[in-house]
Symmetry: C2
Subunit: 343 residues, 2 copies
């Protein structure tokens, strides 16, 4: 998969994956995601004593990683507070001294760690926070851009929009289609080596940021754009709508988790129905792309057995009249979804 | 009209209106708007030699204004570059020395004028930029708040949403209804003495900012909220949707300018139809207020004769089945719109 970006945030690559002293797999999600989705960008890993999770990549010091071509250390772990603990600091300074920039996306800003900031200044190295948008985002123009675009949308937050976009971009490329994954959140940005942190953009520039993320391209090129939030989410719909308008998608795929009832982070809000999201996405998306259409559905069936998943996907596909796939399970369902999107 | 605010930006009041050396009425829009909509907040005006526009308020030095109760100097003029010229600086420093804070909303930030910033620091005075949102905006919860809310929405930008909200709030109060105007843009914020600059809020917090702007209130109290942008505008719809979701309006009024064909700032986009805006506002607004309804329409008929305006308002009111008024013209049409909103 080609994950080059243009017109938005750019990260130095390839990476040395920093694992800190991580002892829970869930907290190493970013590092594991990078290994799975961007192995060509990862030269090795660096863990502290006490770490029990590994990506399986070769262990390297910052100097060894730099010699192997690495240009940035990526903080590939989180912890519950999102802080950068004192025990990490010597390794981060050593990375800067070895010639690596640092890429981070934790709650605590990397530039707010004085000894790391001072070392970066002294050495002329970059500290890049993938949650901070570029400074020069323009107001959207609405001008129709060349090339094809697909956007993943959702009946709620956090149910597989990034994973679906990554899987579709990979599947498009496997079919011989020229495609780029376009990242809109921090993990996606690290995987792609660039992108736009859409939820951190000032509202007036939200659609402009989406325009910047997926510039003019060849007529048969596809940008597969990671969706954010949901048009039906009472907190995050502004992000979703700016992204929809600015992306001008030709095709959207609705991501859904069967069995989820309540919307994330709200009290008393049910997850939107798939039909509601189709209708809203068409009604709003037509404004910047009159030819927008639904390509099908991506279900997160992690909580279901193989048979349960097949049953619910078959039933919903018959009811809705378009392919339903779980990209994690893949198989003929995913092939059908890809074919429908490219049709 | 009661224009107290809570839970969002608060401005020191009353004001001394600063006119600089303004020679064009259009550039004094903010000062003239304050005189018209918040006369109780304006104690006088301060103009430099060369100014030819006046608000008609008494001319005062900063010291005289402070003695008359003023607590802030408001920069009530703009110029084409949005800059704060050197010729203004002595007056601004004099205002700080007289005990006034400074309220500004120009493109150039008031804190970026070194001698003004230094004087404010030395004297312990505030420099308030109404384009800068408060720092503590939370993510929206979607929790239903007490009290009633009206939001003005539009078929485009810049066609009367602020004016309509101000006129409706004033008319509500004249009917004996307890109502507050809630400001979402810089001029509105100066008029209200507070509010939320919605277009400058980070997208993730856009709906949360709208929730903050119109807190719980008495069951029969109305917040009349200034709309922003348009759900159909390819650049600004994210602002409009966050504001809609967070405002949870019971009633919305669609603002429209008959005869306008192209959307502001875009090439090739027609102004949305009134029906399109009704449908989108209902479909999206129901998410946070299932009882949302359209109260009627506000037409900006400044370009039409009295008779042309009456004809187009009568025709559209009959076609759409709800009152149409131009708040600038007032009259029985406005009474009918107010009655429909409060019904």
């Amino acid at each position: 998969m080609n994950t080059a970006t243009s017109g938005s945030m750019q990260l130095p690559q390839p990476y040395l994956l920093f694992l800190g002293d991580v002892a829970e797999r869930g907290f190493a999600k970013t590092a594991l995601g990078l290994r799975d989705w961007a192995p060509e960008k990862c030269v090795g890993e660096l863990a502290l004593p006490g770490a029990t999770v590994s990506t399986g990549l070769p262990a390297m010091t910052p100097a060894q990683a730099h010699a192997a071509g690495a240009r940035a250390l990526v903080i590939g772990v989180a912890n519950s507070g999102g802080v950068i603990p004192p025990s990490w600091r010597a390794s981060l300074v050593a990375a800067l001294e070895a010639g690596l920039d640092i890429v981070a996306g934790m709650h605590m800003r990397i530039v707010d760690v004085p000894e790391v900031r001072d070392a970066a200044e002294r050495l002329g190295r970059q500290l890049i926070d993938v949650r901070v948008p570029p400074a020069d985002i323009p107001v959207a123009t609405g001008r129709k851009r060349t090339g094809k675009r697909l956007l993943t949308v959702g009946t709620d937050c956090a149910l597989g929009k990034k994973y679906t976009a990554l899987a579709l971009a990979r599947a498009f490329v496997a079919c011989g289609v020229d495609a780029d994954f376009r990242a809109t959140g921090q993990t996606g940005i690290m995987i792609a080596g660039g992108g736009m942190p859409m939820d951190a953009v000032i509202s007036d520039f939200e659609a402009g940021a989406a325009e910047m993320l997926s510039p003019d391209a060849a007529a048969d090129h596809w940008d597969v754009i990671e969706g954010q939030g949901s048009l039906a989410h009472p907190a995050y719909a502004a992000v979703s709508l700016g992204l929809l308008h600015g992306s001008q998608p030709d095709v959207f795929v609705v991501c859904h988790e069967p069995g989820r009832t309540d919307m994330l982070g709200t009290a008393g809000y049910q997850v939107a129905t798939i039909e509601e999201i189709i209708e809203l996405t068409l009604a709003l998306g037509r404004r910047t792309n009159p030819d927008i259409r639904c390509g099908g559905f991506s279900f997160n069936t992690a909580a279901l057995s193989e048979e349960e998943a097949r049953l619910v996907m078959d039933r919903e596909s018959a009811r809705l009249g378009l392919p339903v796939a779980d990209p994690v399970r893949g198989g003929p369902n995913l092939d059908a979804l890809v074919a429908s999107c490219l049709a």
